[in-house]
């Protein structure tokens, strides 16, 4: 043909192509293969989740003094009432160290747009940008106009319950180092940025920060600033590097400072171990097993279908003009 230079497999759409056809063999083997992969993955995940030992203790109600249970708000808002509270936990299974200590909040909308927006990353990172408080409404500056560092609602509402653990007489140290992401500490929260004017306003939010410690070392803040996706969330409080035995009794001394009574949120203390897959989450394993099982079933069903109602591949009788001869 003429015009050789304009002729190429590309322009003529004649590139070598693979044209997979969904033959019964393929259908069955694809479903079978998915099943083969998914069921074991599911089983392994389930086993991993089973290995995790988790102790959850809800303390928001229990820590309210008996005389104030019908006015929890007054209790939590009164600075003169001691917020100290003691809880006793019994270990149900052996727990291998490290044991993770979490606090869990419920019905707390860290994902609210008004909340999520209310921060300024520049200010957190760079001491020179302390005056950058844009987006931090309504917690930008103090009443006399001084910039708050760290500004914004997220920092202002910092969670401030504290826990200490003892087993018998043995003090279980909670290691609060490295509970945040390394990149956060090293890059997002400045080593020379110190809290200032924080929680100085009339309206007290959550926890306070030690003005002498740079933000990069305020790991509770760093963890808190990673807003959670859902209104129920857990955040890492610290790690205990001690193996716990079954039936061990742990005494928890906690100061119940954080106000969740206002909006009926629960507060829970969680002790948990973790595996390679994370915490105690059966869902992934079940989901894998179900999808894998479904695929096995489908492989079987299609095999059955091909036996009951076989259609020879490329059977011309199935062409529309052969099937509806009248329609011609």
């Amino acid at each position: 043909m003429g015009g050789d230079e304009s002729y190429s497999k590309f322009t003529q759409q004649e590139l070598p192509a693979c044209k997979p056809i969904l033959t019964p063999k393929w259908v069955v083997s694809v479903f079978f293969l998915v099943g083969i992969i998914f069921v074991p993955v599911g089983v392994v995940s389930l086993l991993a989740a089973r290995d995790v030992v988790e102790i959850v203790d809800r303390y928001d109600d229990a820590c309210v003094p008996a005389n104030m249970t019908d006015n929890k708000l007054a209790y939590i808002q009164n600075p003169n009432i001691s917020k100290d509270c003691t809880r006793t936990l019994t270990i149900t299974e052996d727990m291998k160290q490290p044991i993770f200590v979490y606090y869990q909040l419920d019905n707390f909308y860290q994902n609210h747009r008004r909340y999520v927006k209310s921060r300024n990353d520049g200010q957190l990172r760079d001491a020179a940008k302390a005056n950058q408080t844009s987006a931090c409404e309504p917690e930008k500056t103090t009443a006399d106009g001084k910039p708050i560092v760290p500004c914004g609602l997220i920092a202002w509402s910092l969670f401030n319950d504290t826990y200490s653990f003892t087993r018998g007489n043995e003090n279980l140290t909670v290691d609060k180092k490295d509970i945040s992401w390394k990149s956060d500490r090293e890059h997002k929260f400045g080593k020379n940025v110190y809290p200032s004017n924080f929680q100085n306003g009339l309206l007290k939010g959550g926890g306070t920060l030690d003005p002498a410690i740079p933000l990069s070392e305020q790991e509770d803040l760093i963890v808190w600033m990673r807003t959670a996706a859902l209104p129920t969330f857990r955040k890492l409080y610290g790690r205990i590097y001690v193996d716990l035995k079954k039936n061990d009794t742990i005494t928890v001394r906690l100061s119940n400072n954080y106000n969740t009574y206002n909006f009926g949120g629960k507060k829970k203390l969680v002790l948990s171990t973790a595996t390679w897959l994370g915490g105690k989450n059966d869902f992934l394993g079940f989901a894998y097993v179900i999808v894998g099982g479904l695929c096995f079933f489908l492989a079987f069903a299609f095999t059955l279908l091909y036996f009951i109602k076989p259609r020879k591949l490329g059977d011309h009788n199935y062409l529309s003009w052969n099937r509806h001869p009248a329609g011609r």
Partner: protein
């Protein structure tokens, strides 16, 4: 230029002396003496609407006001440098979706917007910018096209009798130009003189009205002396005429020349875009330039066409908008409720410092503000890149169409030109084709093939139809499958069917002589003298050689003769006569000279025949005659014409061969040949002179009834004819046209021909391209005037009295009769053809009648409308479009490329995928958009998005759009060869198999399912537990990123499942999109401004097995339902292309060729038109014949 000097003398013929009808010159030459219409024209000049003044040969006057007219520069572009931006932007924002995105982009500058401004504006700018670039490039192409035209060159008088070549665009009103043979006229011209002595020239107006026959134009007598370059030295004249207007067929104006005023009528006007033919050169004065010219006045700005799919797309967008509004309402109500009842308790949000966007004391107001936020937030339901992707796909498709080697014309080196890419996908959905260019279907090259002389049929060559039939019979397949394909594939052998039916086959018949394919030894080499009726044969040849209006031209180099004939038929006759030994070699004013080579005397003799009169052909008469005196002094009238006309004029003793000839004529007609009957009459001197006196009187009479009189007089002499025989010429179709029409017909497309040609031309072409055939019942609708006038003077009187009303009633009756006929027809093989002329169409298109007409037309296998005006074309198109409600394809100016027509049946692949593409867009955007909505329910309807702004921005523009484009451009469900072999596959398009509501809803449901799976699986996996062995839990960034990863995988897997054709491009785009996502998240994650997504993949998610496990799980879960669907459909309810794919895959077509052939033939729609249908009919007829004669059929294949 060089040859004109020589050619000039040769062309010195006064045609007006010879011509009877069309070249009649008004004897009155000066305006004041002119009667009738010219006087009327003269009086109008100068009044309103007739203000143009042209100073001939003095264009300088027209360079300044007040006589400054536009230049001859034309521009058909939509935009220019200045208007491009505003106009193109306006065009873009006429689309609902774009307007919506513009609004959101503006709102993104306010705090209402949930996203950063840049993430709203960037995609919009990208999308709109891309569309505008596309517009710009297309307009640039138009500009280049214009430049090409503007830079054509033409000879212009520059003064002192010297001509120079100038660009068309530099022409000005008043310039004298010299146009040479086969050139286009650069502007509307007044013809001053031509290479013919009496200022005649031939013009082809194909580009104007689609008529293929040449038109004769003549100059005013007074300008005839301006016949040489030098004579323009001092030429001056003033033309006063009408203002520019679009009317092609009228012209009112006069010429003031040498202090006399002469009326100009349309005969002297040469229109731009028509072509000079058969005339060496002409001189003319430019009257209208550029956009003032009639053809440019006629071109209307083409409205932006929108395809049906695009309309449907809009509809779906509206649906999505409704969904959007609905969920926004839900969301804002939820927000208002939460704000009123819950927000005051959420101390961590400091509700007491709330602004008006979330003020618990004014929940209604906040709710309204939030509605806007939500409308923007859920905007990802609307696929912003839909339009631009589809557009891009179309541009690329157009590019591939342009590059397609199968549409490469080797003669001209041109490829197909897809002028606009807007309507590509419509190609796959065509239901009815309206062709308005019959001329492009045939080569207009006649081939003399057969003749019947004295009741004996000569000529053993076969027409294309016969060859096909013979091939089929010989192939011996006794069932219904007809392998027309084979006929075209190998045509080198020769087939003889014994028992009287003989075909010698082939393209092999191509003799060295163009226009002559006749083969029969009985007539060649002078053998005819041995035939029993040799005297009749002699007459027959003489008629061929003498009865015409052609001029011989000697090629100076080779000495060979060529003929400049008005119609190609005549050319073929003359060539045939020459081959038979009757060479017409010279024409003088009064005589025709023929060199007879194989007469009885057996040596070349030159004979001179005096031409006494010439009654030329026109469409009313359907015949032409010459009256000559031969060397013996005998006066002969030779007449050729349509058989019906000739037969009714035969003398009693002239009907000897009538029966046989009629039979032969029918055979020829069936074989697809154009036929003419030849006859003669011997006149005695007295009879002739009596008639001639009357004729001269009629010829010199003045007045409107002059034509009528002439016709009447001619009619008197063209009687008592003696039939000699008949000719059969084949009008060769353009290469590929029969196949093309055949395939289109088999693909189930309807073909209508709307032509400006005369009825008989249209019918002839209809025959030639198998839209009509013998044995088809033809329903002719016409208003009883016109044709009958010539036949019956009385009736003419009556019909002139007929009012429109009566005409309408008669038409109504005709339509009713036609419908009745169709209804009563029992034979399923009977085919009807509807032929309607322009006049009847005027009435048929009126509101009360058009549905009746349409219903009749739909029943007919083919529809031919003749003499249709451009407006009627549009009306018919609209009628069909609205009446049938299906896509129609009109073939007309600009697209008169046969290859394009051929290519229309490749639309299958395009259409299927086009619908799929759009469905996929909705799928992916629903899957994505709804997850945002679900998240809202978990975020207090606050308008927070779980995804980073930049993810969302990239989703539509980068991460999911390229695979769809590759699907649109490169997908082939079956290869193009198979499409051609199984035309019925095309029906998948018009039946809208790929884009019906069932399917759209299915995809939407799939999107809904995917969104649910993606969101809730991820939420459950990442609910509250640690995601890593290090005990860290997932924050919003981690959840959002994982969900987004799942979406990217799910939608790209989905598109991979819909593809059936993977080249490296598809692989690159699909897997590249997924890869790009990971690349992006790494790059973006290394930027500090990415906030919580900083190092999200490398530090947080990458090392977490849970992340990868979730991706795999969700991707699988999202795609399993679709996989089930396609597996089930394929196994239990396969579509045609599925089965064919499998046959191809298993190579069954090679193993079981009988099956493959059988299916291929079955795949054709039963049609009543087209080549195959014709071959069918022929076979039936031959079978019938053979059946009578012999029970068995023996086939010899002579190799």
């Amino acid at each position: 230029m060089g040859r004109t000097g020589g050619g000039r003398r040769r062309d010195r013929l006064r045609w007006s002396k010879l011509y009877t009808f069309s070249c009649f010159r008004t004897p009155a030459t000066s305006g004041d003496a002119a009667g009738g219409p010219s006087a009327h024209g003269g009086s109008a000049v100068g009044g309103p609407g007739f203000t143009r003044v042209v100073h001939c040969n003095n264009s300088a006057v027209h360079r300044r006001k007040p006589l400054k007219y536009p230049t001859n520069y034309i521009s058909t572009t939509k935009y220019n440098v200045l208007t491009f931006l505003p106009k193109a932007i306006f065009e873009q924002f006429r689309r609902v979706a774009n307007l919506y995105f513009l609004l959101t982009a503006i709102l993104s500058l306010t705090p209402v917007c949930p996203f950063s401004a840049v993430s709203m504006i960037a995609p919009l700018a990208f999308v709109v910018g891309l569309s505008m670039i596309k517009e710009g490039v297309e307009d640039w192409r138009r500009f280049m096209q214009d430049m090409k035209v503007n830079n054509r060159k033409v000879g212009v008088h520059k003064g002192d009798g010297e001509f120079e070549y100038r660009h068309w665009e530099d022409l000005a009103v008043g310039d004298v130009v010299k146009v040479e043979k086969d050139q286009f006229f650069p502007a509307d011209l007044l013809l001053l003189s031509s290479s013919y002595e009496d200022g005649i020239c031939y013009v082809e107006t194909m580009n104007l009205d689609g008529e293929t026959n040449l038109k004769v134009k003549r100059s005013l007598e007074v300008t005839l002396p301006l016949e040489e370059d030098e004579s323009f030295k001092d030429f001056r004249g003033i033309i006063r005429c009408e203002d520019p207007n679009p009317n092609l067929y009228t012209f009112v104006g006069n010429l003031e020349y040498e202090r006399q005023i002469y009326a100009i009528d349309p005969f002297q006007i040469l229109l731009r875009d028509s072509k000079l033919r058969n005339t060496s050169f002409i001189y003319g004065v430019v009257i209208f330039t550029g956009h003032d010219s009639k053809v440019m006045q006629n071109s209307t700005e083409s409205p932006s066409k929108r395809s049906t799919i695009e309309k449907k797309m809009d509809m779906i967008i509206y649906i999505l908008f409704s969904v959007l509004v609905l969920i926004s309402l839900i969301s804002s109500i939820g927000f208002a409720v939460r704000i009123k009842f819950d927000l005051p308790k959420w101390w961590y949000l400091q509700p007491e410092k709330a602004n008006k966007l979330d003020d618990p004391t004014r929940p209604a107001l906040s709710g309204i503000f939030h509605l806007i936020t939500a409308l923007i937030l859920y905007g990802y339901l609307i696929p912003i890149s839909l339009y631009v992707s589809i557009e891009l796909v179309k541009v690329l498709q157009a590019h591939f169409i342009n590059q397609d080697i199968h549409m490469f014309d080797e003669d001209t080196g041109n490829t197909a030109q897809a002028r606009t890419s807007n309507l590509n996908e419509e190609l796959g959905q065509v239901h009815t084709i309206l062709s308005d260019k019959t001329g492009t279907l045939t080569c207009n090259q006649m081939d003399f093939l057969k003749c019947s002389i004295a009741g004996v049929s000569y000529g053993v060559g076969s027409s294309e139809v016969e060859i096909a039939a013979a091939k089929h019979m010989a192939s011996g397949n006794d069932d219904q499958d007809i392998q027309v394909q084979d006929v075209w594939e190998n045509n080198e052998d020769e087939i003889q069917l014994v028992e009287g039916v003989t075909f010698s086959v082939g393209r092999t018949r191509k003799s060295s002589v163009k226009g002559f394919s006749f083969e029969d030894d009985r007539l060649m080499q002078g053998n005819w003298t041995n035939e029993p009726n040799s005297s009749t044969i002699l007459l027959f040849f003489r008629i061929l050689a003498l009865c015409h209006t052609a001029i011989p031209e000697v090629n100076e180099a080779t000495g060979a003769l060529t003929y400049e004939a008005e119609s190609p038929d005549e050319g073929a006759f003359l060539v045939a006569a020459r081959e038979f030994g009757f060479e017409f070699f010279k024409r003088t004013q009064s005589s025709v000279f023929v060199r007879e080579n194989f007469t009885a005397s057996n040596g070349p003799t030159e004979r001179e025949f005096k031409v006494l009169n010439l009654l030329e052909f026109n469409s009313k008469r359907k015949r032409m005659s010459v009256i000559l005196k031969d060397e013996d002094g005998q006066i002969l009238l030779l007449c050729k014409g349509a058989d019906s006309i000739i037969f009714e004029r035969l003398a009693k003793n002239g009907r000897v061969f009538e029966a046989d000839t009629t039979k032969h004529l029918n055979d020829y007609g069936e074989a697809g040949l154009r036929t003419l009957a030849l006859s003669y009459r011997v006149l005695d001197e007295s009879e002739y002179s009596a008639w001639n006196a009357e004729f001269l009187r009629a010829k010199t009479s003045i007045g409107p009834d002059r034509e009528l009189q002439l016709e009447h007089v001619s009619d008197l002499i063209e009687r008592e004819l003696i039939l000699v025989g008949a000719t059969a010429v084949e009008d060769k179709l353009q290469k590929g046209v029969p196949q093309c029409i055949d395939r289109l017909a088999q693909a189930g497309l309807k073909i209508w021909v709307l032509t400006g040609d005369k009825m008989e031309t249209a019918i002839n072409i209809g025959y030639a391209c198998s839209l009509l055939r013998q044995g088809m019942r033809r329903i002719c609708l016409s208003i009883p005037t016109g044709d009958q006038v010539a036949q019956d003077a009385k009736k003419a009187l009556l019909s002139s009295l007929t009012t429109d009303q009566a005409a309408k009633e008669s038409l109504m009756l005709q339509i009713a009769n036609g419908s009745q006929m169709v209804k009563l027809e029992k034979d399923p093989d009977a085919a009807f053809a509807l032929v309607i002329d322009g006049k009847a169409l005027t009435f048929a298109l009126e509101d009360d009648m058009k549905h009746m007409f349409l219903n009749l037309a739909i029943e007919c296998a083919s529809v031919i409308c003749c003499r249709v005006s451009p407006k009627q074309k549009a009306l018919v198109t609209r009628l069909v479009k609205e009446g049938i409600g299906k896509t129609t394809l009109a073939i007309g100016d600009g697209a008169n490329d046969v290859g394009m027509i051929q290519e229309a049946d490749i639309g299958v692949g395009i259409s299927g995928v086009e619908g799929m593409q759009i469905c996929y867009f909705f799928y992916k955007n629903i899957a994505f958009g709804l997850t945002i909505f679900y998240f809202e329910a978990f975020a207090g309807f606050s308008g927070q998005s779980v995804y980073d702004d930049w993810f969302m921005l990239l989703f539509n523009v980068v991460l999911t759009s390229l695979p769809v484009i590759s699907l649109g451009v490169f997908e082939q469900d079956v290869s193009s060869e198979i499409c051609l072999q199984f035309p019925a596959l095309y029906q998948q398009g018009p039946k809208n198999l790929f884009f019906d509501w069932y399917r759209i809803l299915g995809w939407m449901a799939n999107g809904l399912y995917s969104s649910l799976a993606i969101f809730f699986l991820n939420i459950c996996i990442f609910y509250d537990q640690a995601i890593r062995s290090g005990g860290q839990t997932a924050d919003m960034a981690a959840v959002g990123t994982t969900m987004f990863t799942c979406i990217i995988w799910a939608v790209n897997m989905q598109i991979a499942l819909t593809m059936s054709h993977f080249t490296w491009i598809q692989h690159l785009f699909v897997w590249g999109s997924v890869g790009t996502w990971y690349l992006f998240i790494i790059v973006y994650g290394s930027a500090l401004r990415s906030r919580d997504n900083y190092q999200i993949l490398l530090e947080v998610l990458g090392p977490a097995p849970l992340y990868w496990a979730a991706t795999l799980l969700v991707t699988a879960a999202c795609n399993i339902p679709y996989l089930i669907h396609i597996s089930y459909q394929r196994s239990c309810n396969p579509l045609d292309h599925h089965v064919i794919q499998e046959i191809k895959y298993l190579k069954k077509d090679v193993e079981d060729q009988t099956m493959w052939k059988r299916e291929r033939s079955k795949a054709r729609q039963r049609t009543k038109i087209g080549f195959t249908a014709r071959v069918d009919a022929k076979i039936k007829q031959i079978r019938g014949k053979l059946h009578k004669k012999a029970p068995s059929l023996t086939i010899h294949t002579v190799s």
